[in-house]
């Protein structure tokens, strides 16, 4: 459900009108619009925002590890509309056990590397991604360093 205080934000209202079930929450703290999206709907919402609402740019995709909370991961998308001079943040909560979410590379090709980076450093898999490999670390690296249960210092034994 879209929170009532976001009903007068045009983008939030449009997304809710497009697919009311997709929006599970949101806020506009610090004057930055955040919409929480059901993970299963992310690709269709992104397509709607790009082709219907003018968000032609995907600024970045990243993730936040909320360990030990469950669902553990937040996948965060920052979108930018040049025409409206507006930005919006989308968030999806993904479970900690075998985390997986649909790729948005079919909407923006730029998602390719950003999703590879999230896969590499957080271990979240993206389905329908054309080239899901590690990008920063060597292919034989063990673990995902940006997870909260990955140590900052120490050496492998």
């Amino acid at each position: 459900m879209l929170p009532d205080n976001l009903r007068d934000r045009a983008v939030a209202a449009a997304v809710a009108a497009f697919d009311a079930d997709a929006v599970t929450g949101g806020n506009d703290a610090h004057d930055e619009l955040t919409l929480e999206i059901a993970p299963a709907k992310i690709a269709s919402i992104c397509g709607f925002l790009k082709y219907d609402q003018g968000f032609v740019r995907l600024s970045t995709v990243t993730a936040v590890d909320r360990y030990p909370a469950e669902p553990r991961f937040e996948v965060v998308y920052h979108l930018h509309s040049i025409q409206r001079n507006e930005r919006v943040r989308l968030k999806c909560r993904v479970r900690g056990e075998d985390p997986v979410i649909e790729s948005v590379t079919s909407v923006w090709r730029s998602a390719n590397w950003y999703e590879r980076e999230v896969f590499d450093l957080f271990g979240i898999r993206f389905t329908n991604h054309p080239d899901l490999r590690r990008i920063m670390l060597p292919d034989d690296w063990e673990g995902h360093p940006l997870r909260k249960d990955y140590p900052v210092t120490g050496s492998r034994v």
Partner: protein, 410 residues
């Protein structure tokens, strides 16, 4: 002899498969990671048919240092020193983006002098970065002397940075809440001396290049990529402006009082290497204008925010007042708490859109810091840009992107 027998061309089985798939005419050439024209450790897997590039796959990560992880174990203020090391050719832009993000979370009001000082030094950083780009890019294409001229002026800028912060490159001069130190005595004549002559120096570079037939031959019509492709692939900054899109965060969403400055956003429409050169040269002139305005109109007053729980007290007060001493001790040992929340602060770095996504959980250390760095986004377009061109033009094309590998790999 197969390609894998050549020194330095070790291919993974997948890469060899790609080679076999495209037929007997093509060969895979491994450019980098130690090629001087890649300005750092970038590896390009070029599939060639004769001299034509069939496909190009960039391989990054050689300079990955885990800086985003490092943020999570440092106090907010300590994090400033990490930002310098990401884009090491534009350290003050990195400082600024991070400080603005944390200040937004804290709700701090930054005094006028600090804001204008930030504008002036960030624009000097843009000049510094563009000078390195111009010098090295021209050298890649064969114009050796431009490099020497550019580094002459860059040296002046680095000396100014040293005057302000004590450091030439890893300045860390912007801190959460204002500046690290009081602006030094005598900065005004020093900056004035530089910025008064700088436009004539830009004329010198243009004399060497703009009408140079070899330069034009190597850059005009080279590395062309459409605006639609660039937007889709995540390209930002001067490359978009060279394709005719008037986009600049300093104008579209002004931060740190850029709205008070008079400057133009230069654009070209050709979207080739030469257009990117023209855009950046014009940006240098515009940055010089901004520096002049900031220098002449510099407001008086405090240079750090009135927030004793965040900003270190003056040395004098720390030694004479009990309360200031307590604050000093608390900030240095424990840092300061930042209210729970998240912000995405975007600024215009010399290379394009620089975004800092900072998540706070209410403690003295950031829960998560993600840097949306322009070089990472821009590099994704490499393949699209060079496919179908000659291998010699790859050097000119990637030079025109102006990436920094520290900025890409973080």
């Amino acid at each position: 002899m197969s390609d894998s027998d050549l020194p330095g061309t070790v291919l993974t089985p997948a890469e060899e498969g790609a080679q076999a798939a495209s037929g007997p005419r093509s060969m895979v050439l491994n450019m980098g990671p130690q090629h001087p024209s890649t300005h750092g450790v970038l590896r390009l897997l070029l599939e060639l048919d004769g001299e034509m590039v069939v496909s190009c796959r960039p391989d990054i990560g050689y300079l990955h240092t885990g800086i985003e992880k490092e943020f999570e174990v440092k106090h907010y203020q300590q994090g400033v020193t990490l930002t310098d090391r990401v884009d090491y050719l534009a350290p003050l832009s990195m400082n600024l983006g991070y400080c603005l993000a944390v200040e937004k979370l804290l709700g701090l009001e930054i005094p006028g002098q600090a804001q204008w000082m930030r504008v002036m030094l960030t624009e000097l950083t843009r000049l510094n970065s563009h000078l390195v780009w111009l010098g090295t890019h021209a050298m890649d294409v064969g114009a050796m002397s431009v490099f020497l001229y550019c580094f002459r002026e860059r040296e002046d800028i680095l000396r100014i940075f040293e005057m302000f912060s004590g450091q030439r490159m890893m300045t860390s001069y912007f801190r959460i809440g204002g500046l690290a130190l009081e602006p030094p005595r005598g900065w005004h004549p020093r900056v004035k001396k530089f910025i008064d002559v700088f436009p004539s120096r830009v004329d010198e570079y243009e004399d060497l290049l703009t009408n140079n037939r070899i330069w034009i031959g190597r850059t005009r019509g080279i590395g062309v990529i459409s605006l639609e492709d660039m937007l889709d692939l995540g390209v930002t900054g001067p490359m978009l402006r060279a394709a005719g899109l008037k986009i600049d965060t300093r104008k579209d969403a002004p931060y740190t009082s850029y709205e008070k400055f008079d400057f133009e956003v230069p654009t070209r429409t050709e979207s080739d290497v030469f257009a990117r050169y023209q855009v950046r040269v014009e940006e240098m002139r515009q940055s010089a204008r901004i520096v002049t305005q900031a220098m002449e109109g510099m407001p008086a007053g405090p240079w750090k925010a009135d927030a004793p729980h965040v900003v270190l007290p003056d040395r004098e007060k720390m030694k004479t007042q009990m309360e200031a001493l307590i604050y000093h001790f608390k900030i240095v040992t424990e840092g300061f708490r930042v209210p729970e929340g998240e912000v995405y602060q975007v600024i215009e770095s010399p290379r394009g859109e620089l975004g800092f996504y900072v998540v706070s959980d209410g403690t003295a250390k950031p829960y998560r810091v993600h840097m949306r760095t322009p070089s990472f986004g821009n590099l994704q377009a490499t393949g699209r840009m060079v496919e179908g061109s000659l291998i010699a033009d790859v050097i000119a094309s990637i030079g025109s992107m102006d990436f920094v590998l520290g900025d890409t790999d973080r």
